[in-house]
Amino acid sequence: MKFIRVKAIAKKELIQIWRDPLSLAMAFLMPVMLLFIFGYAITLDVNNLKTVVYDLDKSSLSRELVDSFRASGNFEVVGNIHEQKEIDSYLDSGKAFVVISIPKDFSEKLKTGRDTSLQVIVDGSDSNTATIALGYISAITDMYSQRIKGVRITPLIDPRVRVWYNPELKSRNFIIPGLIAVIMAVITALLTSLTIAREWERGTMEQLISTPVKVPELILGKLIPYFFIGFIDVIFSVLLAVFLFEVPLRGSPLLLMLLSSIFLFGGLSLGILISIVAKSQLVASQISMIATFLPAFLLSGFMYSISNMPKALQIFTLAIPSRYFVTMLKGIFLKGSTLKLLLFETMLLSAFGLFVFAVANKKFRKKVI
C-alpha cells in the first residue's frame, strides 16, 4: 500500500467532484433537501383543524368524545349539523376540514360493553393534512375508549384517504433521527456507486488498470473524498435536526460523529462494490437505490418497529446496516445513549463495513473483461 497513490486518486476524485455541478449538488444539497422535505412531510403538526360534528346520539358520552377532540388542540369545532346533506356543503365550501359523525346507538353500545364505530370524513384534497388528521383521530378515539373500560371505537375512515407514511404516527422527535439514517444510507451508496462505473464508461479505467496501482489503493483513494463529504452531510443533518426540527440531542455529539463514520465507511464501501459489479452508472445507481432505500425505509426500524415484525423478517433485518444506525441515532438523540449501550450495534456495523470493503477488493479485477 503506497500512500502516494492513495493520495493521487483521492485528490483527482475531489477535483472531479468539485468541477461537476451535478456531483456537487448530489453530495451536498441532496441530503439536506431530502431531510428538509421528508422531515416536514412526515412530521408536520396540524392544529385547529376546522371540524363539524354530526351528533345523532346527543348523549353525555358523545359530548365527552367531542370534548376530547377539542381538548387535544388539534381540532376546532366550528359547528354542529343536524342533517346528512349539510356535510357536503361544509366540506365543499372549505368551512370544515373534518366531519365527525356519531351514530344514534353510540352511547347505548358503549354502556352495554359492545364495540361501536365512528364515521369520519376528511377533506382528502390535502392528503398530507388529511393523513395527519386521521392519525390524531385514531389516537384520540383510542384514548377515549381506553377510558371507557376497554370498549373499542373504530373510526370508519373515508376510503379516499389512506394513511401512507408514518402510519404509527410517531412524533417528529422519533422520525428525524431515523430519517437521517435512511437518507445517509441512500446517499452514501449512491455517491460511490457512480465512481468506478463512470471510469469504465469513460474509458479512463483502462489506463488506470494498466498501471501498477493496487486495488485497495484505488478503492481507498476513491472512498476518502466521499467519506469527508458524508461527514459534512451528517453534520448538516444533525444541525438541521437540532435547530430547525428542534429535536433534542441528549447524547454526545462526538460519539454521534464517531458512529456515523463507521456507518459511512460501510455505506460508501457498499456503493463501491455495487459500482464494481455493475460497470454502468445507470445500473449502479438503480441498484444502490433499491439496495439501500427500501431496506432502510421499511426494515430498519425507522417506520415500523422491528419487534412487531414476523420472526423471520426480524432476523433478516440483522443484515441491514441502517438498522444499527437508526438505533444509534435514536439512542444518542433521544436517550443520550453511550457507546457502552450501543456496543452491539457498533460491532456489527464495523463488521459489515469491513466485510463489504473486503468483498469489493476481491471483486475488482484489473482486467478489461
Binding site: 485528490k11 477535483i15 472531479q16 469513460r202 474509458g203 479512463t204 498501471t211 501498477p212 484489473k366 482486467k367
Partner: protein, 308 residues
Amino acid sequence: MMRSSIAVKVRGLTKRFGDFVAVDNIDLSIKKGEIFGFLGPNGAGKSTTIKMLCGLLLPTGGTGTVGGFDIMKQSEEIKKNIGYMSQKFSLYDDLTVEENIHFFSGIYGVTNSRKKERLGWVLEMAGLQDKRKAVTKTLPGGFKQRLALGCAILHEPPIVFLDEPTSGVDPISRRNFWNLINEMSKAEITIFVTTHYMDEADYCNRLALIYRGKVIAEGTPNELKQKYMTRYVLEVEVDKVVEAMEVMYKNGIETAIFGSLLHATVDNMEKAIPRIKNLLEESNIPLNRIERIVPSLEDVFVALIEVS
C-alpha cells in the same frame, strides 16, 4: 533479473470471445530497443493482442513473457515495467494538463524529487508548456495524443505499448509523433506500436502484419518489400497528369495519381519504359522524367491481403 536481449516473446498467443477467434495462435519476438510495428486493418486483432501483452486481458491460450514476466501469471509485475497508451483517449477530460500529469506521477509512484523534472519533460515533449492549466477536453487531438504518451511514460518504463497512437490526428502531428517515438527508441526503450495507416510502416524497425487474427507477414520494411513486391513501380513526371493517365490507362497500364506524379505498376520494366514513352509522344504529351522507384509498404500489404 533476466538479462536477455528480448523484450517481448510470445508463442501461440490466442484469444477467443465465445466462438470467435480474435487473435489466432500468433508468435512474436521483439528485441530491446526496437520499434515494432503491428499493422492491420480495423478488427484484425491489434488491440486484443496489445491488451493481452499489457496484462489487461487474460489470453485464452499461449505462453510468453513481457519484460521477462509471464503473461499468464505475472500481469501485475508486467504493469510495473510498461507504459500503455490505449486506442481510445483515456486521460481525464475534466482535469487540466498539469493535473493529469500529477495524477499519473502519483499513480506510478514517481518520487517527489523526480516529479518536477518529469512534469517539465512531458510538457516540453508534448509542446504543452503554455497550456498546462488548460482543461484537457479543450485540447486539439494532436496535443491530447502527446499528453497521453507523456503520461504513459512518466515513470520511464523499458517497454511501451501504443495502440493506434496516431489515429484521427492531422499529418503534421503524426510526423511529430513518430519523431518522438524515434527519440524514445534511441534511449533503448522498446516500442510496440499498432497502426492501421500502412504508410507509417516505414518508421518501424520491424513489422508484423495481422489480418483476421493471424500474422500473415513479418520482417523489416525492406525485407517485406523485397520478398513480397515482385512487380515494378515507375514514377512518371508530366505536366498534363490527367491526360497522361487516361492514355496509359486506356492502353492497359495500371496507373495511379500520386500528387503531381503518376505511378505505373508493371511486370516488365525493360519493355514498359519505351512503351510509355511512345504512347505519350503519340498523344503529344511532353514527358519530363520516368524512373523506377521502390514500392511503398502500402502496395505490399494491399497485395498480401488480397492473397489471404
